[in-house]
Symmetry: C2
Subunit: 438 residues, 2 copies
């Protein structure tokens, strides 16, 4: 017997009952469907990467899980160097760098896979979670059309999953960096890192950090906060940035890009995509367009999708020019929220569409034959394998949410009958032609 | 830049190019389809279990990977106690024990998930691999019909995957234990452990180990080897065991069960299922029917599927009676063999069915409109996002194996045309009605 304690859930490692997993699985199928409809090809990467590869990239303040062989007395040097990946972007970048000569560019991949972080679990934060990513990597400059298409694909996914209204906040790192540089700031990435915290600590907190950590003067901080206040649902939002009176080549390039992306998304419902100049994204590797998606009706809930353009992440592994752009859907974060709020309402504990009863006066060969006939016709069919009382067999079907039960014909004169449990309706049926509802 | 070394494959952690992953993904979809057609519901378990849970079960001589938080100076007690699971059976047993009151029994689940073992990689053995498992667990005795249905489902999967001829070898632990006990052997499980090695070390090796390790006498070893020589494709194979002249209640019960299972499988092609009294399965937890599946044309290749009946694995976690039966498909082992042998012949690097060209004299809105129309009709449609030379766009489509390219109409008078790359055929097409081949 195992200690009861050992059977308990492990904080941050979610698991679902079968009826909930069936819904999550249906979500994943729909996400795959949307990704494939845009021509993204699936890959999976191994779950582990060399620690060096993980630490050299953006997210180095996140805790990661290294592997250790349990039975080995001394840590094997090679294995101690591997750790579970904390996202799917860095493994994808490594995969592209490793398979450069075998891939066709632009390389468009989707990846639906688990990732791990050794963080303290809290609302929306898990230690093991599933991400659904799309990325494009090319050996030459990637056209801006992709910057507009990526969030549109994710918007379509959110619609397909029916998760409620979302808002995709869009910004451009060139605008931020160009603006800060034009103000005379020498460490624009440090300002970006601090502005990224505005959602959590507010403008006053940002102001204090910019003073304390970067010793920026009041006028500069005022402009930084002015920029972070700019939002707009249309492409002309860039004029509000220009109205702040700061100019510079990088800033102008960023504003042109932001204008292009917002313009390309104008056909979507108003408010679905918002240019928000306070959006920074913490990761160091973004260089242009950045996105984050939130629940429109729960803005304090963490970001549910995020991404952006990274010119150097892949190429830095090889000293080549390999720009990329991608976006990641935090499936576990979204799904677990809806589960917690009771918005996932599973009705069935099994995919079975019809259960064939095995009654004491029937032959197993005959009832199994009915099941095989139905299955061969694509109907998900379960056989009750024991000739128990009918009441018990029906209770099983009902408890699992199986919609139909089949009573096989007995004897040469007998007729097959099917009962629909929801309505109680019962009728003659032919295994060669009957079709289930649902 | 990352050391070249760090970009290399890690031995035992396979990865596939997109075109190969597409085939593997299609395999998984087909496996899911077969499992669901028999009424198995999907679950996923977390990737980690308490070390104690993993070590108390059968496979304790396998190396396992424990987790270690990288940045923490001192190992956190709680986290050091977790390790990656090495199969899906033990996690399933823990899941059932933990969720006992929320599951409907008989609980029938499938699980397609990765597992990890810290073994030295060799042919067919990986450190990270995907298993596809089905199991039934009940709170009361499980009817023998399941013992026949489980290998039949796996046979159907192997047919669906077209992996070539396989043979499912079937035995029953009660036959082995009953036979050995009737011979006066006091440690029948030790004999089972040694007989399990016969595939690798041959009958002489088994004989030597039985002498050296268990001090069995020659006559007893002779009978043990006699039993291990019995095979047969029909239910009457049990008579050949009885002809060895050994009797006992447990042995008779096992022979009746083996007879039942072989009889129930007689409608399948001869040789697909073979009773083989040398099959032992190494795991301690099996108590009745055991299976292993091999490639019929490559018997020295390791077992590709394995499983059996375990009366006490789940219940032992709770001190309850919770018998189970299951079988596991070694997807990575099977798939990687076929890849290595060149029997996976991918033709496409993308799911895209048609690529819409973006020619310099077209408007992006118009070509994007065509793509959206096609996509809305369920056609996987990729848009070439840059108005590059037609030749370059066609080369991209051809390199990725995209079957069709679409030339959007230009101007009010223009007509849409579609070219099929394999044949070179080109024809007028309407985005509202055109259908791709393949």
């Amino acid at each position: 017997m195992i200690e009861k304690q050992k059977l308990k859930p492990i904080s941050g490692f979610p698991e679902w009952l079968p009826e909930v997993r069936m819904v999550e699985q249906a979500w994943i199928d729909r996400i795959r469907g949307v990704f494939e409809s845009y021509g993204f090809a699936p890959i999976e990467t191994r779950s582990v990467e060399p620690v060096e590869v993980l630490l050299k990239q953006g997210d180095t303040d996140k805790e990661i899980y290294a592997l250790r062989r349990l039975m080995e007395e001394e840590a094997s040097a090679s294995e101690a160097d591997y750790a579970l990946h904390y996202d799917l972007t860095v493994p994808m970048a490594r995969y592209v760098a490793a398979n450069l000569n075998d891939l066709t560019f632009p390389f468009k991949r989707y990846q639906i896979q688990r990732a791990w972080r050794g963080e303290r679990p809290q609302e929306g934060r898990f230690r093991e979670f599933t991400q659904c990513d799309i990325d494009v990597v090319d050996t030459r400059d990637i056209p801006l059309h992709f910057d507009a298409e990526m969030p549109a694909i994710v918007y379509e996914v959110m619609q397909a999953l029916d998760v409620g209204p979302t808002v995709t906040r869009i910004n451009n790192r060139k605008v931020l960096e160009g603006f800060y540089r034009a103000l005379g700031v020498e460490q624009p990435h440090e300002v970006i890192r601090i502005v990224d915290k505005q959602d959590k600590i507010g403008p006053d907190g940002v102001s204090k950090m910019l003073t304390d950590e970067l010793s920026l003067d009041g006028a500069t901080i005022g402009k930084v906060l002015d920029l972070a206040r700019v939002t707009g649902t249309k492409a002309d939002v860039v004029e509000r940035v220009r109205a702040l009176g700061i100019t510079g080549d990088l800033l102008e390039q960023g504003l042109d890009e932001l204008h292009f992306v917002m313009k390309a998304l104008e056909s979507y419902p108003e408010g679905a995509f918002v240019a928000d100049l306070s959006v920074a994204r913490g990761l160091a590797y973004y260089t242009g367009t950045v996105y984050e998606v939130k629940f429109a009706d729960d803005p304090s809930f963490p970001t549910i999708c995020g991404g952006g353009r990274y010119e150097n992440l892949v190429g830095s592994m090889l000293n080549k020019h390999l720009p990329g752009i991608g976006i990641s859907i935090g499936l576990t974060r979204i799904f677990s929220k809806l589960v917690r709020e009771g918005r996932i309402a599973p009705t069935r504990k099994t995919p079975t569409q019809v259960m064939v009863c095995y009654l004491p006066d029937a032959s197993y060969e005959a009832v199994n034959g009915v099941a095989r006939t139905l299955r061969a016709r694509g109907i998900k069919t379960e056989l009750f394998h024991e000739p128990r009382k009918l009441k018990q067999q029906l209770a099983y079907a009902s408890n699992k949410g199986i919609p139909h039960v089949w009573f096989p014909a007995v004897g040469a004169e007998g007729k097959h009958e099917v009962k629909t449990l929801a309505t109680g309706a019962q009728a003659d049926a032919d295994p060669e032609s009957w079709l289930p509802e649902g």
